[in-house]
Amino acid sequence: MISSQFDSLRLELRRGCLVLAVLAQLRNEHYGYTLKKELADRGMDIDEGTLYPLLRRLESQGLLSSEWREEDKRKKRFYRLSPDGKSVLRDLLAEWNVINSAVGRIVGKSKGVA
């Protein structure tokens, strides 16, 4: 019961962070597979079933742009941050810093309780 509660809360916590991580990583152009690898190398492992639909969703929201291009004799879909995405990322990062500091302060105060 507690384990499933933890899983569900962890999922919720990660959901927003994933969007932020993907947007930040796509300041440089990537195609799906290298994006997943780079995120994993930086400690943010996202399973395929979540990452690729997320890319589509962010693109449909206008935050990413994509194009098919040939690389290593194979056609690949490259994603990068759109101008709207850059602006949203800037705002999200500011919000992230506010939340991070606030949570840091709260968690810091409650350390004795935990």
């Binding site: 195609y31 799906g32 597979y33 290298t34 690898k37 399973d47 395929e48 079933g49 979540t50 690729y52 639909p53 589509r56 194979r74 056609k75 690949k76 879909r77």
Partner: protein, 337 residues
């Protein structure tokens, strides 16, 4: 990447492709295919060897069950859970496939049997069948709403089997198979010979006498010009298939048209009912009636089977023509022959 890996990826991507939203399915499937190939290539270059079947399966299992992968590309607002939504679509299609012919049959039956007030009888039948269909669709929807709620989040990443993956159907744009055209041509030549009575001539040539006092009914002679013309037209079509195996659309379109004409001819034959009679000079004609009845029954059954075969062949050609225009799976996946 070896052929086995390619085939497994084809089947996996095809299983997802079938379940994706129609507007995006080719694009998403192409991207998924590319991602999987990159992953396989990456692991093969790390291992410095080709991956075996189990290793490919492990990659696909990590990716997730096709239904779950496909459902994640769908809308986030749903009445029916994403885990069961593809099954719901299949159930809905089954209901519609049953309902549409039933509706057509009921309306046709009403049109034939209604003695008066034809229009109101037709509308009444149409409305009854439509209401019945809507009730069925409603029941199926409610059941899947329940199943969706009950199975929400219960589909595990490895809760599927490789054997569940469908086979990738034949590429509709694949060139025609020459051996099939040759086989068809041989069959057509034999049929032409039979229709023109060459088998009778051959029998007489090798000295066999007529063992049964039966004669062909006039309907065969009546249909000979149409049948012979159709056989020659079919032969021309098969020669085209033999010489130009990439002219798929003209072959399929002319084939479907000729199948329809052959069906008309067969319907005329089926309608005749009598195909053989007793030779006028035969004594004790009455005693031959059972034999004639038997022959006519067997020929009717044979013609019925052939008609069904031709109708299926015609439907398959039309279906392949439609797939050529709408299914881009093989083109985008690079699996064309």
């Amino acid at each position: 990447m070896n052929e086995q890996a390619r085939s497994l990826l084809d089947r996996y991507v095809y299983a997802i492709h079938k379940l994706l939203p129609r507007a995006q399915r080719d694009d998403i499937a192409t991207e998924l295919r590319e991602i999987l190939e990159s992953q396989v290539d990456d692991e093969e270059s790390r291992e410095r060897r080709s991956l075996d079947k189990d290793e490919i399966v492990a990659i696909l299992k990590r990716f997730g069950p096709p239904r779950q992968v496909a459902s994640r590309y769908g809308s986030r607002q749903y009445l029916i859970g994403p885990e069961v939504f593809p099954s719901y679509l299949v159930a809905l299609k089954v209901v519609l496939w049953v309902m549409v012919p039933l509706m057509a049959f009921a309306v046709a039956l009403t049109a034939v049997t209604a003695r008066e007030h034809l229009l109101s009888s037709l509308l009444g039948t149409f409305w009854s069948v439509l209401s019945f269909g809507l009730v069925n669709v409603g029941i199926v929807t409610l059941l899947f709403v329940y199943f969706g709620r009950a199975s929400s989040g219960k589909l595990k990443a490895d809760d599927w089997d490789l054997d569940d993956l469908p086979e990738v159907p034949e590429d509709p744009k694949a060139p025609l198979v020459r051996s099939e055209s040759i086989g068809a041509l041989v069959g057509l030549v034999l049929m032409l010979g039979w229709w023109l009575g060459l088998n009778e001539a051959l029998r007489r040539l090798i000295g066999l006498s007529d063992s049964l006092p039966l004669v062909w009914a006039p309907v065969w002679t009546e249909l000979t010009p149409a049948a012979v013309s159709l056989i020659f037209a079919c032969m021309a079509m098969e020669v085209m298939g033999l010489l130009r195996p990439k002219w798929i659309k003209p072959y399929l379109a002319s084939g479907a048209f000729l199948d329809l004409l052959v069906l008309l001819l067969l319907l005329r034959l089926l309608g005749a009912g009598t195909y053989v009679g007793v030779d006028a000079g035969t004594p004790h004609q009455g005693s031959m009636s059972m034999l004639v009845f038997l022959f006519n029954g067997m020929l009717f059954a044979g013609l019925l089977v052939i008609s069904i075969g031709i109708a299926v062949s015609c439907a398959r050609k039309i279906w392949r023509l439609l797939r050529m225009s709408h299914d881009l799976f093989h083109v985008n996946q690079g699996t064309r022959n």
